[in-house]
């Protein structure tokens, strides 16, 4: 088998194990929740008499031994059955699928924006290390890194929607405006600007710091001296020799942070009233709808695992030494 194929299949097997482990963890969380699950469910369904609770207990196999319940649960998870939300009167999986597109478009756009912006700014700062532009980028980065994203969101709304009136603050489209075609698309894009910027800003700060540090480290390496000794022009030394090597740790961290990004979307969707997974999570928290909450937990974990697979793939394309990586 070619080395890349070996590497990818190793990662795939690992990903499957990770997802299964998270599902098991999820199962125990359900059981760790205080109170009798059947009683909780009955409460959610709005009927709390003992007979109904007993009926639920039998229906969901809650009277069976734990390992048997685990087996049943895993069987259902494999079939994408994440349970039923009595509050919303719908299967959890359907609820999630409805909400997923908004969250994916929000997080992916933010991620791409943050990565491009962060690498560009980090490179600029590192190349001018010690000058005022480096200081400015570092200070702005430090501040963005210290700011709670939900608060940035609110402040941007205050500035751009309330005071300046340039951009819409809530939702994904102007309700009742009746836009079609191009106008409808632009309307949707306008609604995404503030949330994407808010979520992206924090991670842009992270990638800026990382890129800057990585470049400063690579800049002093022997092979850069070799490139200088070859008489190459400075731009080529930076782009081909320094940047390509400096980007590797940024990719690694970006992969690790996919999960954080999705977590951040809970806050962003709450602030901007976007109907995504995050908003659903907020509603589930308010209503104590554990089935939905745990479904979200499992789904977001799967999304992160897929994302990690993608970064592994990118990494293996950039770095020829993958067999050396653990």
């Amino acid at each position: 088998m070619p080395r890349i194929a070996v590497f990818i299949s190793q990662r795939l097997v690992k990903a499957v194990f990770v997802v299964l482990a998270i599902a098991v963890f999820n199962f125990f969380l359900v059981h760790a929740a205080p109170g009798d699950p059947a009683a909780v469910m009955a409460g959610e369904a709005g009927a709390a008499d003992a007979k109904f609770v007993e009926q639920l207990r039998q229906q969901f196999g809650l009277d069976r031994p734990l390992y048997e319940q685990l087996g049943t649960y895993m069987g259902k998870v494999v079939q994408a059955d994440l349970g039923y939300s009595y509050r919303q009167q719908r299967p959890v999986f359907d609820l999630l699928m409805d909400r997923l597109p908004v969250t994916l478009s929000l997080t992916l756009t933010s991620f791409v924006l943050a990565l491009i912006g962060g690498v560009a700014l980090g490179t600029l700062a590192a190349m001018r290390a010690g000058t005022w532009s480096d200081t400015a980028i570092t200070v702005v980065g430090l501040t963005a890194y210290a700011t709670p994203i939900f608060w940035i969101g609110l402040m941007l709304i205050l500035l751009f929607s309330v005071n300046l009136g340039w951009l819409p603050a809530f939702g994904t489209e102007s309700i009742g405006a009746g836009y079609t075609g191009w106008a409808a698309l632009m309307d949707r894009v306008e609604h995404l600007v503030l949330p994407v910027v808010t979520l992206g800003l924090f991670y842009m700060a992270v990638y800026t710091r990382l890129t800057r540090a990585s470049i400063l480290e690579v800049r002093d390496m022997d092979f850069v001296k070799t490139a200088r000794a070859k008489g190459l022009p400075e731009w080529r030394i930076v782009s081909v020799h320094i940047l390509r090597n400096a980007i590797l740790p940024v990719i690694t961290v970006a992969g690790f942070q996919a999960g954080h990004l999705i977590g951040g979307s809970i806050l962003i969707e709450t602030v901007f009233a976007l109907p995504g997974i995050g908003r659903l999570a907020f509603e589930a928290v308010l209503q104590r709808d554990y089935q939905v909450l745990l479904g979200i937990f499992l789904l977001t974990s799967v999304v992160v695992v897929i994302f990690n697979l993608l970064t592994d793939l990118i990494y293996s394309l950039v770095d020829p030494r993958i067999e050396v990586a653990p």
Binding site: V18, A21, I22, F25, L29, A32, A33, P34, A129, G130, D134, L142, T143, Y145, A146, T147, P148, I149, F150, W151, L154, M155, I157, L158, V162, A213, L216, E217, D220, F256, A258, G259, H260, I262, G263, G264, I266, L267, T270, V271, A281, F282, A284, V285, L286, R288, Y290, L293, L294, I296, F297, T300, S301, V304, V305, N308
Partner: protein
């Protein structure tokens, strides 16, 4: 090429001199002391409970009975910020302490013993690193009902993996260093080796990470209470911003000032962390600079 022409200063007064060379770090430390004093003397500064109505609702800032304005129920924003400092610092510090305990123990065992122990611990750590951390924190706090303990534990549970990896890396590289091998050949026990040879040498990166982790923990706490998952008996900055969310058009100050408090505290902690890094890891820090 110029081996050892620059001799780094070490320990003792050298530490403070190196720390003080970083202006931002000194500024951060000063501000942090201010916040700590505010938290300690919150009851003296604002004797009435931050939950009590002390002014008319929706008073703008700089009004007579509410310096930073009042909220929808006429509660003093300034009093809320002073009392909220306690919660932020308390949760930030304790959850970091718990996370350091978990992370360093797992990382140390993993890095020192290597082999299958290392494999098992690292798979476990990777699993926790894959799980979206904020989602897990929300789930944990929601399921175990919001309280000081559940919040601290949830934050610790989602924060320890990076520390475990760091401690593992340190222990692993130190484990194969010659002075540790010399300790093995001179017959010192494993416990002595971990405690006297390895731990003191791996402490400085761990201290730096921990100081930065306090900042992250405060951000996490504020995010949880923003979503309404704070301890219902304690006034906190995140809760204040969350409560102000729906009235942002009418009362900007309600969300503005608590947010500034979070921002400055977290910024100060990050600056102090960087200063510590400069002072404790002079070689790395020099790389990070020009």
């Amino acid at each position: 090429m110029t081996a050892a022409v620059i001799t780094p200063s070490r320990r003792g007064s050298g530490f403070w001199r190196a720390f003080a060379r970083n202006k931002g770090a000194v500024l951060g430390l000063a501000f942090l002391l201010l916040i700590v004093l505010m938290a300690i003397f919150a009851d003296v500064l604002f004797p009435t409970s931050p939950w009590d109505m002390t002014a008319a609702p929706f008073e703008p800032p700089f009004s007579e009975d509410a310096l930073l304005g009042s909220d929808t129920l006429g509660r003093d924003i300034a009093a809320g910020i002073a009392h909220g400092a306690r919660v932020s610092l308390l949760i930030g510090l304790t959850s970091t302490a718990v996370a350091v305990l978990i992370g360093v123990c797992l990382g140390a065992v993993s890095g020192f013993y290597g082999g299958w122990v290392d494999d098992a611990v690292m798979r476990f750590t990777e699993l926790f690193q894959t799980i979206p951390n904020f989602v897990l924190a929300v789930v944990l706090v929601a399921i175990f009902t919001p309280s000081l303990t559940s919040i601290v534990l949830a934050i610790a549970i989602v924060s320890w993996p990076p520390l475990a990896r760091l401690a593992r890396g340190e222990f692993m590289s130190l484990r194969s260093r010659e002075f540790v091998q010399a300790a093995v050949t001179t017959g010192q026990s494993n416990l002595t080796i971990i405690w006297r040879q390895i731990l003191p040498n791996s402490l400085s990166p761990i201290i730096v990470s921990a100081s930065l982790m306090v900042a992250t923990a405060i951000l996490l706490e504020s995010s949880l209470s923003f979503l309404g998952l704070g301890d219902p008996n304690l006034m906190s900055w995140g809760y204040m911003v969350g409560a102000a969310r729906t009235v942002i058009r009418q009362a900007w100050w309600m969300s503005f000032f608590p947010g500034i408090a979070i921002l400055l505290t977290v910024l100060a902690l990050n600056l102090v962390g960087e200063g510590l890094n400069d002072a404790l890891n002079p070689k790395l820090a020099r790389k990070g600079r020009a």
